[in-house]
Amino acid sequence: MKKEVARFAITHTQFVDENGNMNEDFPQDVPSSDILTQWYKTMVLTRVFDGKAINLQRTGKMGTYASSEGQEAVGVGLASAMQEGDVLVPTYREHVAQMMRADSPESAMTKILLFWGGDERGNMREGIGKDDFPACVPIGTQTCHAVGVASAFKIRKEKRAVVCTVGDGGTSKGDFYESLNCAGAWQLPVVFVIVNNGFAISLSRDKQTNSLTLAQKGIAAGIHFCQQVDGNDVVAVYEAVRVALQRARAGQGPSVIEALTYRLSDHTTADDAKRYRSSEEVKVARKKDPLLRSRALLERLGHWDASLEEELQKQSHASVESAVKSYFDIIENHPQTASDMFVFLHEHIPESLVQQQGRALSEKKGGIGGH
């Protein structure tokens, strides 16, 4: 005797199409045109910043860098949906969100440069993001931290929630699944945003997993709110994360939101994407660029024109330059010293480390081979 015992569906949501047209179910009440404008500005700033950061790497002024080009709408959408008190547990590519949660975008950009520039101070979060986790390099591992933070909120009965991002590649890690599973079992206030940018370095999304959507990964964990959104549509991202966070804070459990986007840049500056994807494919993806779409929408609404764009470009470059200046000031005039390898290891430095610290300080930066 066969009977159906469970049934599931995954929906995809888009509010603004590739040409900047609002779909008929565009949420009336939510983003005012001021907000839409602000979002667009933030995306442009990020795009300018990414370009500059790549340039710093190419000219030897910074280490390997991971650009967020093409994914700006995801970060803007999710960070806008978060409230004070919420915590972000990101990957290493959430530059936009970090900028929106810092004391100022400039301050965040300086920190992002410090991080990729090989200085731990780039990991010190600030502002409403002060409880946020720093960039996480080991793929997928941050999802467990998100569960822990959400669990702390639940234990303390605080009405706060966590947003945790993870890449399409990251969804293949056991950590990701263990985290979803526990979040489901304990009905924790956490929103997992899967930033599906099509690639994990060279491995394309369709080779990473056979699942039709990445949102459906939440079904394995008994998570009820599993949705796919157009990740290049900032409104769709915002709206999905907003609702998910509302549910989370109301004790209605975790969510999984898959944001479909595309990594327009190389994986990092150490990567050469031409080895594994065609320029044709990238060209097609560029047509769906979230910046084009947001700008088209604003133009359609009568809130944007070429002169405003020019002004914005100028402002953005100035803002980025100011962040870069701070970066240089810090690494050149206030560099960390060998001692800094020791002092943050524990609250109090153990005696045997004091000895090593002495040795480290007594020596000049030495010669080693290999670069």
């Binding site: 547990v89 731990e120 101070r121 990991n123 010190m124 979060r125 002060k130 409880d131 986790f133 720093p134 080991p138 591992t141 999802t143 467990c144 931290h145 998100a146 569960v147 822990g148 933070v149 959400a150 669990s151 702390a152 909120f153 639940k154 234990i155 056991g174 950590d175 263990e178 985290s179 599973n181 526990c182 079992a185 800094d340 943050f344 290891l345 524990h346 609250e347 153990p350 005696e351 045997s352 480390l353």
Partner: protein, 321 residues
């Protein structure tokens, strides 16, 4: 030792509302060794968390909790099952403070039963301490008596940074020492001299302390006076106490259950070589698990350093100098 550990957990949960315990079967079941017995009743489901069967998550989640000011005490059911949590321990718990230059911290304890001798199935008898001593940013603690278990566990929970706390299963039900619930912690980073002696220094930790003490008794009957040091806190090592003793006796034997190769005995030998070479009257020795996989239980008594082996090797050492 089980009761002492349970008492320490209960004490600290009572006085510090940020302390939570989590792990597999630690709630209604009270832990497979009953170390967390009764905590669920006393402190409720919010602070005594039965987790899904996910060691990676148990450690990783504790990091998230700790970053928010909780003091998680995570239990790994047996130390042979800690490896899925190794990534989170090495790449995150030990580094969170350093990575964020002190903005986020990670005060947490990962407790686990350790070592063999209880006739358990495969993977239930592992000695894993050496791995953790190689990881910067961790502390590693192994008690060898109920009193030290109580005091060191309190100290570990109160430590503002991550501590790996290994509990010798073989000692869980051994020894009937009365422990008072004073709430007094013992110092971390300090060795304990359990016996004073003048002919040879025996350095050990965890369950092997038991055989070391029995061997010391046997040796005493032969007129050999051995000093016994319980390292207790392996990381950071209190090398001064060990060097002082070796200076006095001129002879050193390190005894541990984990495989000899790259075991923590090697680190102690290295320290003595670097800083106590001229104290030595004869070549020191390690008496350790052989460099083979911990066997299933019918052979485990061939694997774990026995009283007889310790006595025999100390005799050989003394004969050689």
């Amino acid at each position: 030792m089980v009761d002492a550990l349970n008492m320490a957990l209960a004490y600290e949960m009572r006085v510090n509302k940020h302390v939570v315990v989590l792990g597999e079967d630690i709630g209604v079941n009270g832990g497979v060794f009953r170390v967390t017995d009764g905590l669920l009743k006393k402190f409720g489901r919010e602070r005594v968390l039965d987790t899904p069967l996910s060691e990676t998550l148990i450690v990783g989640m504790s990091i998230g909790m700790a970053s928010q000011g909780l003091r998680p005490v995570a239990e790994i059911q047996f130390s042979g099952f800690v490896y899925p949590g190794f990534d989170q321990i090495v790449n995150h718990a030990s580094r969170l403070r350093n990575r964020t230059r002190g903005v986020l911290t990670c005060p947490m304890v990962v407790r686990m039963p350790s070592g063999g001798g209880i006739h358990a199935p495969e993977h239930h008898s592992e000695s894993v301490e050496a791995f953790f001593t190689h990881v910067p940013g961790l502390r590693v603690v192994i008690p060898s008596s109920p009193k030290r278990a109580y005091g060191l566990l309190l100290a570990s929970i109160r430590d503002p940074d991550p501590v790996i706390f290994l509990e010798p299963t073989r000692l869980y039900r051994l020894g009937k020492e009365v422990v008072e619930d004073t709430g007094e912690a013992l110092p971390l980073d300090r060795c304990f001299v359990l016996r004073e002696g003048k002919d040879v220094t025996l350095v050990s930790w965890g369950a092997s302390i038991h055989e070391t003490l029995l061997a010391t008794d046997a040796l005493l009957k032969e007129g050999v006076s051995a000093e016994v040091i319980d390292v207790a806190t392996l990381k950071y090592l209190d090398e001064a106490t060990i060097l002082q003793s070796v200076k006095k006796t001129g002879r050193l034997v390190v005894i541990h259950e984990a495989p000899e190769m790259s075991g923590f005995g090697a680190e102690i030998m290295a320290r003595v070589l670097e800083r106590g070479l001229y104290f030595l009257l004869s070549p020191p020795r390690r008496i350790a698990g052989f460099n083979c996989v911990m066997p299933l239980y019918r052979l485990e008594e061939h694997y774990i350093p026995s009283v007889e082996r310790i006595v025999a090797e100390v005799r050989e050492l003394l004969a050689a100098s």
